[in-house]
């Protein structure tokens, strides 16, 4: 039974609890996994993988469904945990992480059989008798290291891919979300096979220990500085790594765009999770001619979002930690731009108000690193060419946002830049577009996840051939001693005739090479078969 993606969409029955339960099971305290347990856990994973029980598609489906229920049954606890860790409202957690994460798990659940089927290689005359096949095998024992900001989606989405691909997997979630990470560690053994799927908690010492070992794949989501450390450690053990990093994702504004709608969609991307989103619109490149209207439109949107102000709203998150709070505060303190909206802060509650800064230049403090906070620098540009040059002078971003209704404008920006994704007229939504790979380029990362891409990341393509003995007679020409006759037959087989070069620098009839190649291979193979006089009996 196969399901197309329309049917994967979740159905309303037995709705998820969206309000917290007064008598809720308590969220356990955060406990780091003792460093000397880590090798033991890894050995357990390896041994469990060796038993071969993850080969069964039924087993994988059962585990995936359990993972889905882990999320669904305990969603109110996750909301509480993230409210405590990130000051994020329950509603925001629902909007940002519930549907998206469950969709990842259920997509894997519905497609694992299809995805894991071995692929027959495309038919070829020379090799079809050897049954060339590409097997989809689990890489083995894999590691996922995830960050604080979208802990459900970024951890459990790829985790579902690892399960679907048949791996044993350990997850190291962030110590900056202690309630969330402790909750995961508590719930995992209640729902999932504890020898195959584990949570290891901790900070630098525990992560360092993990990275001393060889892993069959590592997925690291986070910042580029730590990514470099992870990659350097992985180099020693030849562990393959995928990275989902960040960077400064620009928003390019067309002077003729619908400003109200643009401001609404752009500002939403900036204030969700208080700007702590790897694909948040980091800064805006705005034509000089409309800067004032743009800023006003953004202010209007913020008033709509937070009629009583962001601090007293229950719909606005907080900065994850004092050190990140101080980091962002520092960026704002040192800016040479003008703060035209917001700027309010509260270090006790780690509150930073949605803030708009105009007149920002390329070398401003706000442009020196990914902001990862609710501050929007507005960079004035003369025209779209200047915007494009500005983007290209910097590292390739994870996302690039273009606000325009003009096809030519959109194409010009898209075709003259590089970015993990390019999104027209919105922010953030592309990460839930089913079937699109989520990944970066250059310093914004390498590798992709979501949907089948997660499965592929954790899968090894193992090629296999099965050469029957009876073909021996046909292989005569490959054995030494080599002579002219053998050489000629191979020349014909492997060097098909080619159209000649023309004086004009083109090629005569160059469009017909495909059929020409096939024809020559068929002709030669028949010739070889003929002179080989195959005897279809064992020697």
């Amino acid at each position: 039974m196969t399901l197309d993606s329309n049917k994967v969409r979740l159905v309303m029955s037995d709705p998820v609890q969206l309000q917290s339960e007064p008598e809720a099971v308590k969220i356990p305290p955060f406990i780091s996994t003792p460093v000397d347990h880590i090798p033991v856990i890894r050995a357990t994973l390896k041994n469990a993988f060796k038993t071969g029980r993850t080969k069964s598609i039924q087993f994988r489906r059962q585990q995936l469904l359990s993972l889905a229920y882990l999320i669904k049954d305990n969603f109110h606890l996750f909301q509480q945990a993230l409210a405590s860790d990130l000051g994020r409202s329950h509603h925001e957690t629902t909007i940002l992480e519930l549907g998206s994460t469950l969709t990842e798990v259920m997509t894997a659940y519905h497609n694992v059989a299809k995805w894991s089927k071995p692929e027959k290689a495309r038919w070829s005359l020379n090799y079809f008798a050897m049954n060339p096949t590409i097997r989809k095998e689990p890489k083995g024992v894999v590691l996922i290291i995830s960050p604080f900001n979208y802990p459900l989606w970024v951890s459990l989405g790829p985790f579902a891919g690892a399960i679907a691909a048949g791996n044993a997997c350990t997850l190291k979630p962030s110590e900056l979300t202690p309630a969330f990470s402790a909750l995961l560690a508590e719930l995992f053994p209640k729902y999932l096979d504890p020898d195959l799927y584990t949570v290891i908690n901790g900070a630098i010492p525990e992560a360092t220990k993990l990275l001393e070992f060889q892993w069959d794949h590592i997925l690291f989501t986070g910042g580029s500085r730590i990514a470099s450390i992870v990659l350097t450690a992985a180099a020693k053990t030849l562990s393959p790594v995928s990275t989902e990093l960040g960077g400064k994702s620009p928003a390019v504004i067309d002077p003729n765009c619908d400003l109200k709608l643009t401001a609404r969609r752009l500002v939403w991307g900036k204030v969700a999770n208080a700007g702590q989103t790897c694909i948040a619109p980091d800064y805006a490149l705005v034509p000089k001619s409309i800067v004032d209207q743009f800023v006003q439109a953004c202010k209007d949107v913020l008033s709509d979002f937070y009629p009583e102000g962001a601090e007293s709203s229950d719909s606005f998150a907080r900065i994850v930690s004092p050190s990140h709070f101080n980091r962002i505060k520092g960026l704002l303190d040192r800016t040479e731009g003008e703060i035209v909206y917001g700027g309010g802060m509260n270090s006790q509650t780690k509150f930073i108000e949605p803030t708009i800064v105009t007149g920002v230049k390329g070398n401003d403090s706000l442009m020196g690193e990914e902001i990862f906070g609710p501050i929007l620098p507005v960079i004035e540009v003369e025209n779209v060419d200047e915007a494009i040059d500005f983007i290209n002078a910097r590292d390739h971003p994870l996302s690039l946002y273009v606000f325009s209704s003009n096809r030519a404008f959109k194409d010009k920006v898209a075709e003259n830049t590089q970015s993990g994704a390019v999104v027209m007229n919105d922010t953030l939504t592309h990460c839930v577009a089913e079937g699109l790979p989520f990944g970066g380029i250059g310093p914004s990362g390498s590798g992709y996840h979501t949907g089948k891409y997660s499965f592929d990341m954790f899968t090894h393509l193992r090629s296999t051939l099965d050469n029957p003995t009876f073909l021996e007679r046909l292989l005569w020409a490959r054995y030494p001693p080599y002579n002219e006759q053998k050489a000629k037959s191979f020349m014909l087989l492997t060097l098909p005739s080619m159209p000649a070069r023309t004086a004009a620098g083109g090629y005569a009839g160059s469009k017909r090479w495909g059929p020409l190649l096939i024809a020559s291979v068929v002709a030669v193979s028949s010739f070889v078969l003929l002179i080989g006089r195959p005897r279809l009996v064992r020697a």
């Binding site: 071969g52 090799y127 030849l238 939403w268 999104v423 051939l465």
Partner: protein, 484 residues
């Protein structure tokens, strides 16, 4: 032996800067431009076949037939296929999205990563340079090719030929040794492909980590040959294995490295080996120029001679060497035990140890207890043995009843696992290594009413609407679970 001319630091920097500018200028973007460069690769190889064969004379002495079948032929074939398939590979893919996302036009755009570095080895210097190169060309990535200094004949020739056929502003050869490769690795590349050994593979990975550069590592290891004597024809096995070991004088990353066979069948297999050796005229190996080759360098020759003198196995065929021509006759050892010098590292030479084991099961355990090989060969017709190998071992590739032939199958991805490396090559797989997938959506303005629930302030009505949209998992019914 021609003197290999090393490039200077200034030349390396110039190559890098030029290629960066070429990429930024968009020169490599049009598919027709890329196809032209690919056609030029075919012409380069076709028009200079004799010179290429000649260029091996000073080191590997690779026989003409092996150059055609193992180096030039497969590349020509794959390049022609790349031209034919490029439109398909490069076309943007519209995603089959669920109903509510259809209006977003979700599309996967295929785009070149940027300027890439290809580091290739000496053993198949044409094939292992051009296989990544044609993928880079197809993907639209300018490329620097760092060729091996250990095979100076071919590296000199390619340094001369490439600029005559390919656009110099996009493709450059750099020759040199350790200092030159170190300089290259300090630069920021958009992808690096390295083919070689695990030690240098780690160095490449470490350098790439500084710049967060994605890499492809095609490494090696000891590729075992498991023989199940009950269900196979030992005469044919012996011939195929001996043939596989003697090609390129055993200097192939997917060469059959060592044999595991139940001890009860070792005598019969050794007899078969002797017959096969006569049929393949292995005693000509020291002198022949058409059918056998040399060890690439004095250093490697000495390494292999050392393995021969320190092994405790018993020679059953071969054993002769010719130091002047750096020739070692394909040599087979029996009764090789664990701990033998021949079982330490990848042999990469024409020495074949036979390791007797109790039975097939013990052979499988032995394989699983050792680093994961690039390829695992098994000669058996027993479906249970085949399935056990599929399920209980891990290797880059798994091939039954032959050696080496998988390398000619264009449609199969070539990749290692664990110590044998990571990243897939061959045709579209190579193209994919050098391409990044850029997701794209275009959200209509008219969708705004549908998006209204995502904006703060979050009110009870909004929450109600969201409970419907993003909420529940429907548990499959008992019947559905039973049939899953």
């Amino acid at each position: 032996m021609p003197e290999l001319k090393y490039n200077s630091a200034a030349e390396i920097d110039d190559a890098y800067e030029t290629l960066q500018a070429t990429f930024r200028a968009g020169t490599t973007r049009p598919l027709s431009w890329r196809k032209h460069q690919l056609n030029q690769v075919v012409l380069l190889l076709r028009e200079n076949l004799d010179a290429i064969v000649q260029s091996f004379a000073g080191d590997l002495g690779k026989p003409r037939v092996e150059v055609i079948t193992g180096e030039v032929g497969p590349i020509v074939r794959r390049t022609i296929q790349s031209v034919a398939l490029l439109d398909e590979w490069a076309s943007d893919e519209r995603v089959a999205a669920p109903d509510w996302q259809q209006s977003w036009s979700p599309t996967v755009l295929k785009r070149p990563k940027g300027v890439v570095l290809v580091i290739s080895p000496w053993n198949f210097p044409v094939f292992l340079t051009f296989q990544p190169l044609i993928g880079a060309i197809a993907a639209g990535c300018p490329a620097v090719l760092k060729l091996s200094e250990i095979g100076p004949g071919v590296s000199t020739l390619l340094a001369d030929l490439l600029p005559k056929y390919l656009d110099r502003s996009a493709y450059r050869v750099i020759n040199g040794g350790v200092p030159e490769v170190t300089h290259l690795l300090r630069l920021k590349w958009d992808h690096i492909t390295y083919t070689g050994n695990g030690t240098v593979g780690r160095i490449v990975a470490k350098a790439a980590a500084e710049h967060l550069t994605p890499i492809t590592l095609e490494l090696g290891g000891k590729s075992p040959v498991l023989i199940d004597p009950n269900t196979t024809n030992l005469k044919i096995v012996a011939k195929r294995v001996l043939w596989g070991k003697s090609r390129n004088a055993g200097q192939i990353c997917v060469a059959p490295d060592y044999v595991l066979i139940p001890r009860a069948a070792q005598d019969a297999f050794v007899e078969a080996i002797k017959e096969a050796a006569a049929e393949l005229r292995l005693d000509d190996a020291l002198a022949s120029t058409d059918s056998y080759g040399s060890i690439v360098s004095e250093g490697h020759y000495r390494r292999l001679r050392n393995l021969m003198t320190t092994s405790s196995g018993t020679i059953v065929v071969g054993g002769n060497t010719n130091e002047e021509r750096r020739r070692i006759a394909p040599t087979v050892y029996r009764d090789v035990k664990e701990g033998d010098s021949l079982l330490e590292g990848e042999i990469f030479g024409p020495l074949l140890p036979i390791v007797p084991v109790d039975d097939v099961r013990q052979a499988i355990e032995y394989i699983d207890a050792h680093p994961r090989p690039l390829v695992l060969y098994a000669f058996t017709e027993d479906p249970e043995v085949k399935q056990a190998l599929r399920d209980e071992t891990r290797s880059g590739g798994l091939h039954f009843n032959d050696v080496l032939s998988q390398a000619g199958v264009d449609q199969l991805p070539f990749a290692g696992v664990g110590e044998s490396g990571y990243g897939n090559l061959t045709l579209k797989y190579t193209y994919d290594e050098f391409t990044y997938l850029r997701g794209s959506v275009d959200i209509p303005l008219t969708l705004e009413p549908n998006l209204s629930t995502r904006y703060p302030p979050y009110t009870p009505a909004v929450i109600e609407a969201l409970a419907i949209k993003s909420g529940a998992v429907q548990a499959p019914t008992a019947a559905a679970t039973a049939s899953a």
